[in-house]
């Protein structure tokens, strides 16, 4: 599903590479934690998958496609197969929960009757039934993140990328979000989650890829957060 071969990424005007000779392969349906301290290259790793950045060297394959050979106008098609969730939710404050989720479908040209059928289903899935008419401000942080997950998942992507999805949430709320991501993973969706949250990683016992200064220092199935902290 996702393959990085000897990938390095140098940003201009920086001495140290953000990623250095990274080789990682993630199969369809896997759940992978990407751990490491700030500046270890987690964000660059995720940005490469979306073709927001191109690697300086090495190749990146996502969903069977070599991203280097993917032409500019085919990038939207790639991104339709990848859902994204962020630490800061990134909801539109002047749209309701329903409209926020529907927005993701509207902008890719889905029919209205499809939207009216699919959006309530996904709101049920994330546990927000009956809250479609609320504005993001009226929801708790955990609920807002559920809206963001609903938006990322509504188009049934093959891959879900989560960048510190629990970073702004308290531990008990985080557990709920992790259960939701686990449920999404069980539908066959590959989940790649960057996190700092040792408790979550330790309790989930999933594959862990640790980055340090742009290098993969650990790749463990059923791993824990690590020893360095």
């Amino acid at each position: 599903m996702i393959t990085l071969d000897n990938v390095s990424k140098h940003y201009p005007n920086t001495a140290r590479p953000a990623l250095s000779d990274v080789t990682v392969s993630i199969d369809k349906g896997e759940f992978v934690f990407l751990v490491g301290s700030s500046g270890s290259g987690k964000s660059t790793f995720l940005r490469l998958l979306l073709k927001e950045e191109a690697p300086t060297s090495g190749t990146v394959h996502v969903a069977g496609k070599d991203l280097a050979k993917l032409s500019h106008w085919k990038v939207p098609a790639l991104r339709r197969q990848i859902g994204c969730v962020f630490q800061d939710f990134r909801l539109l404050p002047n749209k309701t929960v329903f409209q926020n989720v529907a927005f993701a479908l509207q902008v890719i040209g889905k029919h209205r009757h499809t939207i009216e059928k699919v959006v309530p289903e996904v709101l049920d899935l994330v546990g927000l039934q009956g809250k479609g008419g609320r504005l993001p401000d009226e929801l708790s942080g955990g609920e807002q993140q559920r809206v963001a997950i609903a938006r990322a998942f509504v188009n049934k992507p093959m891959i879900l990328i989560a960048d510190e999805p629990t970073g702004n949430l308290d531990p008990s709320t985080s557990v709920g979000i992790m259960k939701l991501l686990d449920r999404i993973n069980r539908t066959g969706t590959t989940v790649v989650m960057a996190t700092h949250d040792a408790v979550i990683v330790d309790s989930m016992r999933r594959r862990v890829v640790e980055l340090d200064h742009g290098k993969v220092v650990r790749d463990q199935t059923r791993g824990v957060y690590g020893y360095s902290k």
Binding site: R79, Q106, V107, I108, R151
Partner: protein, 291 residues
């Protein structure tokens, strides 16, 4: 992207950026009206040239000592000349009559003109007024000819002034259009900035480049259309107030641009306005909306 959704996005965009959009429409309208006025001024100058240059003729003044034979020879030669459309003969007496008509407000001047002071002449109308020198040189120095004069010489300074006027109008319109262009550029940039959250999400969920840019382009086109309508209104109003109700009542010796000319100019101003707005929006988006 569905049209209904597009329409609601455009409405939100315009409302959020209302003062800027308003300023843009007014500036664009005014500068397009200036551009249209410049086109109309050019048309007006052309009309005056056509009218006056066509009426004025070449005058061939004859020697006082001209003989009847020479007069006849000249007349036949002029009438047979391929470049000449019409020939009139004006005797000294006719010339005096015309002068009396022309200078009736200046009796002192008239008193100084005796019956034989004004020379007799042939009034010659050329098929192509630009060929004056060719024809004139043929007859200069011919027996009985005193002088050949192009009456258009009198109008040259006037048209030189009108030309300066016309150029100034185009220069002003150019400056105004540049100002409008900068404003379009800035409005679209601000619009792209205020909606970076939306466009960021659109990008992430895989909206095509076109559907991300389309709301901005439609907004630009809409501002262009409204600005052009505003300009058309100003031009029509200017024609009614300034030409129909003022100039044409005071100045009767020249024709003025008619409504058909105004609509022809509107037909130019419209695509220029809308095209400018869309093109600049597109260029600005390429720079400021990363897709």
């Amino acid at each position: 992207m569905r049209s209904q959704f597009l329409a609601s996005e455009v409405a939100i965009g315009l409302r959020r950026n209302l003062t800027m959009t308003f300023a843009l429409i007014i500036t664009l309208g005014l500068s397009l009206a200036m551009f249209g006025s410049a086109l109309l001024i050019r048309k007006q100058v052309d009309l005056m040239k056509d009218e006056w240059y066509d009426k004025v003729e070449v005058s061939m003044f004859l020697d006082k000592s001209v003989t009847q034979d020479q007069r006849l020879t000249l007349k036949e030669s002029l009438e047979a000349h391929p470049e000449i459309q019409q020939v009139f003969y004006e005797s000294s007496a006719d010339a005096l009559e015309n002068a009396k008509e022309q200078f009736r407000d200046q009796p002192d001047l008239l008193a100084s003109i005796g019956p034989d002071v004004l020379p007799e002449s042939f009034r010659v109308k050329l098929k192509d007024p630009a060929k004056f020198e060719d024809v004139a040189s043929e007859y200069r120095g011919a027996p009985g000819v005193f002088e050949v004069k192009d009456q258009r010489e009198f109008f040259r300074p006037l048209f030189r002034i009108l030309d300066v006027f016309r150029r100034a109008a185009f220069l002003g319109a150019g400056v105004a259009l540049i100002a409008a262009s900068l404003l379009i550029f800035n409005t679209v940039r601000v619009s792209a900035f205020t909606r970076r959250r939306e466009t960021g999400i659109m990008r992430l969920v895989g909206a095509s480049n076109l559907s991300i840019q389309l709301p901005f382009l439609v907004e630009g086109a809409l501002a262009g259309v409204i600005g052009a309508l505003f300009a058309a209104g100003l031009l029509a109003g200017g024609k009614t107030l300034f030409i129909d109700n003022l100039l044409s009542k005071v100045i009767t010796f020249t024709p003025f641009v008619v409504w058909r000319d105004v609509w022809a100019v509107v037909g130019v101003v419209f695509p220029v306005g809308v095209g400018l707005a869309v093109l600049l929006s597109l260029l600005t988006l390429r720079k400021y909306l990363r897709v």
